[in-house]
């Protein structure tokens, strides 16, 4: 009895402990990023509009996110009359937890993923699809006209953009031949022309594929110019209208966590993940220095994409809703189908 118990503990303890450590790490990483991406967003917006942005709290407003967090956490969580209480409370958590789980399969560096799954790519999309449900439930359970309109918009938008995104991802799975994110990165080792975005000899439309992925990522995370779900000029705050305090805060954090996840995924799929753009300078990429060097490059690429998201938000005005759907159904889906067929034909003809 005791022996079997001991055996059980020694067999199961290290793995859960490692997973818990990783999850705690990811959670704090997401929290910190969400807070400071808001700062980046506000500073960026200010710079694009030729004004200084937050300056009061801390140097260059660097303590502003902490002040905001304290404000949100000390606010009362109001449950408006007539809402579906359970769903209203569950929705923010349902928005946040899939992102945290998805981030567990992202390889931040060589051998640096919480959970190196063979179907990691598929798992991210499996959990990503739950996000839609979270916003929809949040909007519907609020019993508010604007929130329900926003929920309806979110569903039609996300369903429309999930198709080209998954088509692009299927193209990438065909090109790389695996759904394991670490292996996808390892295949792109070498200088920057080995990255998937530049592998035009497999598919001449590869940069277009990346653009489609990035556009769909913007639409899936409800970012401008596709932020129809929370168009402030029409819908107050969309699905989040009735949320107060940390209920709103969690939605807000999840939005930034989703952006982070999308950019990390774009980095892994197209921009070579932790591979440095000038080839492997340090020789041994397995050592601690090599891994940290990889993590550095991963973050450079990811944060460049995150910055582009902010950049796009303050450069393009919001589109109209029917244009948004037209873009997906009439332009992005046909193009992504063409890239899918083209790359399968190219692989069959030249690379087998």
């Amino acid at each position: 009895m005791f022996q079997s118990l001991n055996h059980l503990i020694s067999a199961w303890w290290p793995e859960p402990l490692r997973l818990i450590l990783f999850l705690v790490g990811i959670m704090s990483f997401v929290g910190l990023n969400a807070a400071y991406l808001v700062w980046v967003e506000r500073k960026g917006a200010a710079r694009f509009q030729r004004r200084p942005g937050p300056t009061e709290v801390g140097w260059a407003g660097l303590l502003q996110p902490i002040a905001d967090a304290a404000k949100l956490m000390s606010k009362q969580l109001i449950l408006p009359a007539g809402v579906d209480a359970t769903l209203f409370r569950v929705a923010p958590l349902l928005m946040m937890s899939p992102v945290l789980m998805s981030l567990a399969v992202i390889p931040w560096g060589r051998n640096l993923a919480a959970c190196n799954l063979n179907v990691g790519l598929l798992m991210i999309f499996a959990f990503g699809s739950i996000n839609v449900m979270a916003i929809m439930l949040g909007g519907w359970s609020s019993r508010n006209k604007y929130a329900i309109i926003s929920a309806a918009r979110v569903v039609s938008q996300n369903v429309a953009y999930e198709i080209p995104m998954l088509l692009v991802v299927i193209t990438m799975i065909m090109v790389t031949g695996t759904m394991n994110l670490s292996e996808i990165v390892i295949q792109q080792s070498g200088a920057f022309w080995h990255w998937n975005i530049f592998r035009v000899w497999i598919n001449p439309l590869m940069p277009v594929t990346f653009l489609i992925f990035f556009t769909c990522m913007l639409a899936e995370t409800n970012r401008a110019p596709f932020d129809m779900a929370e168009a402030e000029s029409e819908l107050v705050a969309g699905a989040y209208t009735e949320y107060s305090g940390m209920g709103f805060g969690v939605f807000f954090m999840a939005e930034y966590a989703n952006i982070l996840l999308g950019c990390a995924l774009a980095t892994v799929l197209f921009l070579g993940g932790w591979q440095s753009p000038i080839g492997n300078l340090l020789g041994d990429s397995q050592s601690i220095v090599g891994v940290l060097f990889g993590v550095f490059w991963f973050f450079v690429k990811m944060y460049f994409l995150v910055f582009s998201v902010v950049w796009i938000r303050w450069t393009f005005p919001r589109t109209q809703f029917y244009r948004l759907l037209n873009l997906s159904w009439k332009i992005l889906i046909p193009i992504s189908l063409v890239t899918l067929i083209l790359s399968s034909a190219m692989i069959k003809l030249f690379h087998q």
Partner: protein, 166 residues
């Protein structure tokens, strides 16, 4: 550990499945749909225990993600009120009993055919290539028939949503 997890997931699946159709606390269709999502996710857990990671991920992606979102969307758009207790129709009962019996017969026949006892658990994680090969060789006909079913569903939706039929 495996057994404990199996029983946990199996219990959760059955409990959530029961709550979908007969929830004693609320008769709101959205609540039922949410319990259906939980049922699907527990089923995905069972798939993971069978080392079928691919199936588990696809289960969550297709059913919990896509299909249930559309279910919920339709429920919310139609704005169904909490369902009242309706009179049970004879035709419904007969149809339900026949289809349940048919499903039970299929289930029992396949269960009796399967060799019970300790079988070797598959080691391959996911195994998309093996799955695809089986799907496109041995099970090609059922696969194509299922896609035909989807085509019928699409035609049906177009027919139903057309306002003026001539």
């Amino acid at each position: 550990m495996q057994d404990a997890l199996f029983y946990t997931f199996a219990f959760l699946t059955l409990m959530f499945g029961f709550l979908v159709i007969a929830n004693p606390f609320s008769r709101n269709p959205v609540t039922s749909a949410m319990f259906l999502v939980l049922t699907i996710i527990s089923l995905a857990g069972l798939f993971v225990l069978l080392h079928a990671f691919f199936l588990a991920a696809v289960q969550v992606l297709v059913y919990a993600g896509a299909v249930m979102v559309l279910f919920l969307f339709v429920i919310m758009l139609l704005d169904l009120k909490a369902e009242e207790r309706r009179k049970i129709k004879t035709l419904g009962v007969v149809g339900g009993l026949i289809s349940t019996g048919a499903i039970l017969a299929i289930f029992l026949s396949s269960l009796l055919k399967a060799p019970l006892g300790a079988t070797q658990s598959p080691v391959v994680e996911g195994g998309t290539v093996a799955l695809a090969k089986l799907l496109f060789t041995q099970y090609l006909l059922p696969f194509e028939i299922v896609s035909l079913l989807l085509l019928v569903a699409i035609v049906g939706v177009v027919l139903l949503s057309k306002k003026d039929l001539k």
